[in-house]
Each structure stands twice: as C-alpha cells, then as structure tokens.
Symmetry: C2
Subunit: 478 residues, 2 copies
C-alpha cells in the first residue's frame, strides 16, 4: 500500500489546459495556405457537380426495402436504420397537456467525428463535402465521419466509411473532445450521437471529398446560410475556447465584444453557480412530469396517411414523405428512404444580456417528446411562427423579431440533418436583449455565461441541438 512508482499522475493535463488555447488559435486563423478560402467554394461546387444528385419524391409504395407493419409503423426490412413510429405524451400534474405524434425511432448511438491535425502549428480539421438527400443545396460541409451504427457496422451494405479508423481500433487518434449529445427531440426518439474530435500526427491520405480547414475558416462559413451541416455545428459547440489574443474579430472592439470575451473567460464569474444552473434543469425535469409511451403509428390521433405522406389533419407540424435518391458519391449509389419534412421554417434565438459587464445567454429548459431524459436547455425562443397565426405568441418571440439591426449579433439560416429531414431550415438568431430587459425571468429560464455553457457541454444532454447550433454560431462572431 505504498504507491506505485512508475505511474505518473496528471495534476493538470497539459493537453487539456492547452486545448482551449489551441482551438482559439485555430479560430483566429480565418484563412490557411493548406486549403485557401478562395478554393473552398470551388471545391464544394465541384463535389456537388461530381455527385450529380437527384432527389425525387415518390409514393410509399415505391420505397425499396421499407414497409408498413400491421401497427402502422414504417420500418426497414433489415430491422435496422430507423423506423417511423408513434409516441404519446402527457405532462403536468393534471395531465392536461397531452398529444400523440409520429416520431423517428433510432435509439442508437451514432458517431460524429472530426479528425484534427496541426499544420504550421495551427489545428486544422478534416471536413467532408457531404451529400444528403434532404439538404436544400444537396452538398454541405460535414465532419470527417458521420455514421449511424447501421452504417459503420455494415448493415448499410455500402462501401466502408472513409477515415473511420481514426476513431476506433489501434490507429485511433488522441481524443480531444468526446461526449454524447442529443438531436431534435421533437422528431427523434432517444437519438444521440457521440461527438468526438481526435488529433493525429500522421499524414491522412488525400481524398477528393475531404479538405483541411481551420476553425476560423469553418466559422467564416457558419456566418453564411446553409454551408455547415448540423453535425459540424454540434461538434463545434462542445469545443472549449479561451479569450483570443487578437484584439479584433468579426465583432468590433467595444463594450459588447468585451462582455462576450469576459463570458468566455469565466474569470469574472456568473449570475448563478453552475451548481444552481444544473439544479434548475433538474427541477424543471421533475416539474414537467412527462409520461411517454411508444405507440403504433396507426394509434397516433389527429394524423393520417395517404399514398405519399403521413400528415397532420390540420396541416401543421410536419409530414413524413418518401424519396428516391441517385448519387455518385455516397456509400451506395441509389436508394430510397423516408424523410421528415417540416411544414414551415423554424426560429431559434438566444437573447443575450451583459450582466455586470459579462454576457449571459438566456436558456430555457424545454421538454420534447423524444429527448432521452425529459428536458434539456434550449434557446430562449424556439418555435415555428406559422404554428401561431393568431392568439398566444411564444414567450420572447416578439423581443427577438423586433430587435433593431445593431442588436442582432448573429442571423443565418441553417439546415437540419439532411439524411433524415427534407429541406428543414431554421433561422438562427442571437440578439442583444433590450437594456431594460429584467434579470428576473420565469422559472423555466436561466442565465448562463459562455464559460458555463462550454463547461456543461463536456457532459451529455444538457444543451439541445438548437442551442448548440446557436452557440457554434455565436462563437463565430467574436
């Protein structure tokens, strides 16, 4: 019992301490000689052309390998990939909030992996030009690997997943970031992915679908519409950052940028301790009292099925459709599959407020039918405005939409996961709250700093995907 000479304890892991600084340096590199910015768009356009993708809607009867089970569920013959099933929810002490809905059932752990490597002392990330049938522009930037378990264990009958060996087995790289994170709880039942960044020191074979970009280059693309896919955004949100050395950035020097950087640094503190922030999420989960039952799709009330869609009786929310895709560049060259098609564009927005000179995000604990543990922190506002043509408006939506341009810090349209959602776009906004916006907020809402958000994102299921997209977007602005 006298210890084990030879083992070496880690007091502060140099790689970990250094990690935020290294990501920050990569974010400061807005261009790179490895893949200059002026070549990125040509490359993406070239991949799009080479992919020669055609996506057409088809009737369910033309799906190959998919069928409706007797209970109405839409399933694949292999029992793999995913199915479309039903879920019934009730909530609240008196069970007055209750509904049923179709939902994508894919309760497995997928892999969203980014390979990183230093070039000239700066971390670069191996991104992929990835075609997805649901993308409005077909090809977007994706992580090095994005694979469902069905993909990477071979059920897809597709080609091997390029670069998968850097994430599993003896050739795997050093892990820099690694946590499970959720996807859209309104559309996915218990879906979650391993978000992982690994660093390699060796040469990675060139491939026409892949390029090395700095974080700064990726962030530049993230300030534009529909270029960076949801999976990259999810990974970027989990990356820790330090305060950049460069006194300037996309946001001009001044009190606003200073309050953001203080929020990143964390040294000035926060309105609530992280302990209190977590306790508020825990309290919300208990308060929502969610009951969830998976049911057959035929049991879902208020929805109906036609030859080519599953739809809400009043034309709200989303439809489930079938598509046929022909492509040169994906794992297999032609396939059919169901997709979820939202009826209208959503809005997700953070209100941000400097409190004692430190920027705080207003997060909201929000429950959704498919989240693995009732609720996660989401944006201040998350809704589809078309669902509120008249009557009550979602809390704080008007504050977001009424913001004058000089208070809008981030405003882009981004696509959701194009392998499951058909032309699903959302507008993502980060807006400075009015000066007189109160610090006191209703019980589902909580103020957090960027430092706290990053700290919490080292764990799983605290921040919903919409909040993560907004965090990745906000990171691109300072």
């Amino acid at each position: 019992m006298t210890g084990t000479p030879g083992a070496t304890l880690i007091r502060s892991d140099p790689a970990t301490v250094d990690l935020a600084a290294r990501f920050t340096a990569s974010a400061a590199a807005g261009d790179s000689t490895v893949t200059p910015n002026d070549q990125v768009e040509a490359w993406l356009a070239g991949r799009q052309q080479a992919g020669d993708v055609r996506v057409t809607r088809i009737p369910f009867a033309d799906l190959v390998g998919w069928r409706f089970r007797p209970d109405g569920d839409l399933v694949h013959d292999s029992g793999k990939f995913f199915s479309v099933t039903g879920v019934r929810i009730s909530s609240g002490r008196d069970r007055t909030v209750a509904w049923s809905q179709p939902i994508i059932n894919q309760p497995e752990i997928g892999l969203l992996g980014m390979v990183a490597r230093e070039f000239g002392g700066v971390l670069h990330f191996l991104v992929q030009a990835k075609m997805e049938p649901g993308n409005i522009n077909t090809v977007q930037l994706a992580p090095t690997v994005q694979a469902t378990r069905s993909n990477y264990t071979g059920v897809h009958r597709g080609r091997g997943i390029t670069h998968l060996e850097y994430f599993t087995g003896p050739r795997a790289g050093r892990i820099l970031v690694d946590a499970l994170q959720s996807e859209q709880g309104a559309w996915f039942l218990n879906k979650r992915n391993r978000n992982i960044v690994v660093e390699v020191d060796e040469d990675v074979p060139d491939h026409e679908d892949f390029r090395w970009l700095t974080l700064g280059q990726i962030q530049g693309l993230l300030r534009r519409d529909d270029m960076v896919n949801m999976n990259i955004r999810s990974i970027l949100a989990t990356v820790p950052f330090a305060v950049p050395e460069d006194p300037t950035g996309p946001t001009p020097a001044g009190p606003w940028r200073e309050s953001l950087l203080r929020s990143v640094a964390g040294t000035e503190g926060a309105l609530h301790t992280t302990r209190t922030v977590l306790s508020r999420l825990t309290a919300a989960k208990a308060r929502f009292e969610l009951d969830r039952h998976v049911i057959g799709l035929d049991e879902v009330a208020g929805w109906h099925r036609t030859a080519d869609e599953i739809a809400h009786d009043e034309g709200r929310f989303f439809t489930v459709i079938a598509t046929d895709t022909t492509a040169a560049s994906r794992e297999v060259r032609r396939w059919t599959q169901p997709l979820v098609a939202p009826r209208a564009r959503g809005i997700s927005a953070f209100l941000v407020k400097p409190i004692d000179g430190v920027a705080h995000l207003l997060v909201r604990a929000r429950y959704e039918a498919g989240l693995i543990d009732v609720a996660e922190f989401g944006p201040t506002v998350q809704c589809t405005p078309d669902n509120y043509p008249h009557g009550s408006r979602p809390r704080y939506l008007d504050e977001v939409l009424a913001a004058p341009p000089e208070r809008v810090l981030y405003d882009t349209v981004q696509s959701e996961e194009g392998s499951r959602f058909y032309r699903a776009q959302s507008r993502y906004l980060v807006v400075a709250a009015p000066d007189d916006f109160p610090v006191e907020v209703p019980e589902d809402f909580t103020w957090v700093t960027l430092h706290q958000a990053t700290e919490l994102l080292q764990n799983s299921y605290y921040f919903a995907i919409q909040a993560r997209t907004l965090l990745a977007g906000l990171q691109s602005t300072w």
Copy 2:
C-alpha cells in the same frame, strides 16, 4: 449594453466553496447532543414497535387494485405507481448477447430529499425511521422525504407527505446538493430520483418518526448492517467532502489513510483526467451497442407465472411476488403490492489501489437492461455468486473474496429499496488491491480518485446505485 448595475456576479459561491468543509465538519461529529447516539437505537426500536408491521406473502389473486393485463403485465388499476412488464435486450455487434426478463416499469422522477440545519454550527440532517415492506428488519433510517410522483401528487390516497414543503413551493430551503440519479438497472426500467439536500434556518416541527443526526452519526450506522436505507446512501454519495482537520478517524493514521485523503483532496492529481474518464464511459456506451425493447410480460422467454410468483424457469435471478402489509405508521395503514425478491445475496466491491500515493477506485462501465442511457460506472465487481456455481467467475471476484482481513476497508450487508424489493440484501466491500495489482486494466475498467467521483456525481447517471452505496460506505471509513 453597458451592464446591469445591481446584479452581483458570483465568482466563487461562498456557500459552494464552504459546502465541502461544512459536510466534512458534520462527518467529523460522531455524536451530538441533539440526538445522542445512545438514544438512536432505542428510538428506532420504538418506531418499529409502534409501527406494528406485519408483511405476509399472498397469491396474486389477493392483490387489491392490481391486475394482470392481457399482455401479462402486472399493473395498478389507477395506471400509476409502477407495473411489472418485460424487456428484451440484445447487445454486441453480432447480437450474440440477448435475453428477456421481467422488469419494474416506473419511468418517473421520484424525490429523495434530506433537510439539513445547523445546530451549534454543525450541519444535522433530518432522518426518518421508515417502514418498508421489503426490509428484513422492517424499519431503517431513511431521508427526510422519499416519495414517488404518485405519492406526492396524491394518487396514493394516503396522508400528505410530512416535510415535503421544504423541497417545493415558497417554503423550500436552500439547495445544497441536487441531481438525478439512477436505481438498479437490472430491476428497474428508467427509474431515477432527484437526490436533493436543502438547508433550512427555521425550526422544523418535531415528529416522532424524525430525528436530527450529524453525518458522522449516520456514517457510524453505515458501518453496521441494514441500518441506513438505500436512499440515504444514494444521497450521501453525492455529498462533496474536504480533507478532515482531525488527524485520526475510523481508519488509523498511516499511509493508507493518507492515500485516501489525498484522493479526496484532489490536489495531487489523478491517473486520468476527468475528461478521459468520461470519454471511457462514452466509448463503452457506444461499444455495448445495446438494443432494448419493452415487451409484454407474457412474451418474456424462460420465465413463468404461478398463482403466487413470476419465476425464472431454472430458478435463477429473482421472483416477482405479492405481499400484504399492515402498518400503523405509513401513509395508509394496509395495502397489498408486488415486490421483486432476489434469489440470493449479491456482492458489490471496489478494488482500491494507491497510485503514486493517491487512492484510486477501479470502476467498471456496466450495462443493465433498465438504465436510462445504456451504461454507468459500477463497482469493480458486481454479481450474485450463486449465479456462477461452476464455470467462469466474474472478473476480479476472486481477488475480492481472497483479500486478507487487513486489506478489507469496508464490509457490511445493506438492504436495497424496501418498497420494491423483498429482503434484497447485498454485501458491500471495499478492498485494497494486492500490491502487484496492475495499473493497466481491461477496457471496461477505469481508475478514478474520490475527488473525481464526487465531481462526476454532481451530474446525473455516471455512477450506478451499487457504486454509490460503496462510495457512501467508504466515506464512513476515513
């Protein structure tokens, strides 16, 4: 955008920084004038006598308010409390590990709450003498409040829950500790509880079922068999501790105690960063590839139902039985309910090894049918030895059972949740690993310090209940 005068940021919450020191001081108080040790046993015996509890096994047909549904599930007429249903599991890339089993379905968030108050500057905790039908000795020490949602929202038709007002609503105390934690994944489907400690400054009305004890007093009882119920153990495991000022404790001064205290302090570091520890759990979840389907109890293969039990065909694992309880002191005076009765006593054990003079626990990522997210860290060894009469033995079981007495740091028998399990006892051991025990361990295993364990336990679902009982037990030894 110039900040909000008046709000005050918290750089280091005095209450939080102070918290570990205050819990530590309470743990150092092995006795108290508020409820002297020599009165505790008499009080418990008195409550047991006053309760006048009789628990008898009955046939399922004599259950009142419970029935078997057409699919074989055992349910309550109200649709509340819990049901006994079936679950089918398959795991591994080739799906070779597969089984089905009965499981208690209670997918709600219960409340395990402890009220704390300072007396003479030392935190005391309001514990309850609680009768549970499954307890081998009927009455054990329980938290101030332990309530399922059905209990505290009134479906139980019982009396109001005493002291519930300190956890919810306007009279709630200051939250010191608050996180969701799992229960036995082999027996419970998605069961989890809010583990919460609140501090109050006001007088709490006296009640014959409740007494104020220091942590040191509770820990003294935890070094004995079957006195402190599972719910207190779960809460205690989440409490942060600092290094005690007292140079002596139950473990004599010397290298072993020093290595434990260094492990608590965290200042000497750890073999792995917490980032790496979490990454190993994430990797295990992905590796296990667990598929889970809830099925009707009649579909469970290899089990059968008689008039008074649901049992495994080969007499292994557990049975589901029915009981009739008569009591004077519970919410209602007489009721019938199903209970899960394990066939044999389980063993849960941690191997502990000083690495560079800092004690490390060997945790194992373990999957169970009912855990909410595939796997959690459990003990080094967790098994029912009777299930291995011959053939392969669970890894490290022999190292635990062969340990000479001077290497056994903690060894008690404790009861599992007596409101769901009938006479379910487990032997809990913490054992110093042999000096030549390797630092290199198989991929499901990871070394963590006590400081890391406590840090992780501020979050949810990292440590299984068996590991938490062991942590609470180990905390009572230094």
